[in-house]
Symmetry: C2
Subunit: 243 residues, 2 copies
Amino acid sequence: MAYELHYWPTIQGRGEFVRLALEAAGAAYVDVARGPESSGQGMPAMRRHLHDGKVTHPPFAPPFLKDGEVLVGQTAAILHYLGPRLRLVARSEQARLWTLQIQLTIADMVTEAHDTHHPVGTGLYYEDQKPEARRRAQEFCSARLPKYLQWFESILVRNTAGSRHLVGGRLSYADLSLFQLVEGLRYAFPEAAKQALATTPGVVQLHGRVAALPRVAAYLRSERRIPFNEQGIFRRYPELDLR
Amino acid sequence: MAYELHYWPTIQGRGEFVRLALEAAGAAYVDVARGPESSGQGMPAMRRHLHDGKVTHPPFAPPFLKDGEVLVGQTAAILHYLGPRLRLVARSEQARLWTLQIQLTIADMVTEAHDTHHPVGTGLYYEDQKPEARRRAQEFCSARLPKYLQWFESILVRNTAGSRHLVGGRLSYADLSLFQLVEGLRYAFPEAAKQALATTPGVVQLHGRVAALPRVAAYLRSERRIPFNEQGIFRRYPELDLR
């Protein structure tokens, strides 16, 4: 049975980390909220899982994944669940844990990237918090972004199985997520990303290798890949980038 | 061998979620950064793990846990690792996953609570972002705080094993973390917490049951429990609470 991915239909957002894993593994899945309501899909199907009082494990928010009877929310938990099923994580408990830890650190950076344009609150428009956003983005671009990328570089360099992957000697969902993070940073903060990535060659190479994976490359060219836009997590507001 | 917990020595912070699990389980542990440098502890010992280039799995930030050869960072990953070892999670994969998902949702709320006093950036003082903090806290207290607490209430009510615990019929680390979250909210936002908790009796009762667990109660009375203060995640700035 195909996996059901539930996520906002017009943005990459956090759902993209799950979508990339499913695509890279060649897994059968339905992107439910993007499907037709006439087939029981669309936003109503997604909302039902969030608001139906009979769901015993309701997610707090999208993305969430349905696999038969299993319903799981939180991006890192979804990937932790999918990892062994999609062969996108090593088998040992240690390796699974390390992969989860890396994913959680990516998630922290994603939240900080999001908060550059919504520092005062998600309930307000960007236009209502532009001065605050500039202050927050300045710290993000000059301090946090380089610090995170340096960490990813350092764990790549220290990987005892070689620097081609974040964990051990084969592709994991963490590699896919780091690819997506770099994509997002380059879109939203081209100058800050360029400066920081100039000092992290291992991260740049890993990004390139993931982009060239046949299934990933085909996905990126397809209509299934939603373009970046100014409703998502990574937004191109030039005033928030380094000058 | 005793677990080593590494965290900032003067605040509860995110380390407290790990500390509570260790304390509730009666596990032997060393709170390394609070120990004497003359015994190889203190902040230098914590910093060594963060900055020593020979550490293959360096944490991005505290808290992190050392268990023999295992070094693990990210609060939710630490608790996922400790859960089975401290008997603070059910055995089935499904239950472990659901507990992780709840913990990640608690972590999201903790980050939002933190950002009420640091909306513009962690590198600045609260005093340098007070107007922004008031705007962010207003949304947090009026919208986000009630929404999260309602979610915890709903999953308690829907627990097929009864509403005494978040997952199944026994204590898990998620119960301990929800206790700590309520403690923090009551400290930082007494009025907002009071109003929201008035509509979530299951959460209030769970908090009370955890506080009364003999090991937890003894811990809370001990000097090992660092009092809340205005350097931690939950800070009492009356201007940020509901009026």
